[in-house]
Amino acid sequence: MARSMAMAGNIAAAYSTKQINPHVVAAYPITPQTTMMEKFSEYVANGEVDTELICVESEHSAMSACVGAAAAGGRVITSTAANGLALMFEIVYIAASNRLPIIMCVMNRALSAPINIHGDHSDSMGCRDSGWIQIYNENAQEVYDTMFMGVRIGEHKDVRLPVMVNLDGFITSHKIEKVDTLEDAEVRKFIGEYEPFYPLLDIENPVTYGPLDLTDYYFEHKRQQVEAMEKALPVVKKISKEYSNYTGRNYDILESYHLDDADCAIVTMSSTAGTTKFVVDKMRSEGKKVGMLKVRLFRPFPVEEIRECLSGLKSVAVLDRSASFGGFGGPLFNEIRNAMYDVDGKPSIVNYIFGLGGRDISAVQIEGVYDRLMTAQAKMPGDVHYIGVRGD
């Protein structure tokens, strides 16, 4: 195994991209994604990769070029955040609908307005129905490792879908951490060679991408995408397991932390899981039966596995880093409560919206959530609450 390196999440994303050595990278700068593409541009300038780097004039063209490149046949990577993701939204759907296994790092950042450059999940949550596999990462190590798993997952013959690798803007993208890396040869061995799937560049077997699909066939193509997502779930599990065995670093679609004998738990994603683990450790040392569930795989949403993890708990708080205006709580809460609806003896489930626009969530605030869960025991009053906003 190769060495440990100190790197920020964005550098981990760039370094893993270098090791993947994709055919094409197309991207456009946006805070807090820029340092990934700057680093990758250095690799290109120094001849450390064979990649064609396309510095496009907008995120819309970034995803458009990715679609053209992936349809032409080869490995394609991009990255963006917030307004950039919003600008490419139209083509995000097209990438998935054309079954193109593009990898996109999203340095999660709040959407405008007002403009804000810090981390929340409003950008990628807006794309949750786009047909992309979404994996949310806690730290730079996870980002690094998920890139390799993402290549295998997206290109899997039963799946053929694009994969979004999410990391919290600034918190993970810019924080320097220790990352255990693989040797280039080890990466190559794990990801394998790209296998073409009806490439445009196969001149002898011409294919038409993106036809007009009307009432007679559109629904069938959408049904295929549903199936692809269903098939993706066991594939993500299998490849996570394979990668865990390969590297000794454990990955799964969910990470449960002291859930087995817990009375109450917090469900959350990305970097907040790290803070929550710290709080769980502290409270456990005080004899309090608290646990945490980190959701890594948000799309496809692992319903059965969630039920297994949360059954038997008395109360659960779901922490969402994005709001669904006019909806019933945040997107993660929606999914979790929906998944648990038919479970006998299901826990009481409440929602906390936190951290919009990158507002910090502290260990004290998380402990406060656990305290309320423990005090209420049976049913928490109210459904949707807010952490750290003035006036509530």
């Binding site: 009806y198 294919v207 295929q224």
Partner: protein
């Protein structure tokens, strides 16, 4: 192609693998007028062929030999561009000569 195929039987992503299969779809029945090729006037200049929107002028061995009525929509461009009166338009269903 069979219009009744299920989602399990068609290629993923809306891909069409049978290049040029639009030829199975005949637009000839759109026609209200029909070009008639008058061979004795024809100099095989290929003006009609290069201006046809529907790839419907049949050329064999560099000679204009007729019109593919599976695809000809009867626009009449061939008649208009012909410098030699070698194409005339007649109402569909009526005799050409």
């Amino acid at each position: 192609m069979d219009q009744e195929k299920t989602w399990k039987e068609i290629p993923w992503g809306g891909l069409i693998l049978d290049a040029g299969n639009a030829q199975e779809y005949h637009t000839g029945d759109w026609r209200t007028e029909r070009p008639v090729h008058i061979m004795e006037n024809c100099k095989h200049c290929m003006y009609c062929w290069i201006c046809c929107p529907d790839s419907a002028v049949i050329v064999k061995d560099k000679k204009m030999v007729g019109v593919d009525f599976d695809f000809c929509k009867g626009c009449g461009i061939c008649m208009k561009v012909c410098p030699f009166d070698a194409i005339k338009m007649v109402v569909e269903g009526e005799e050409g000569d």
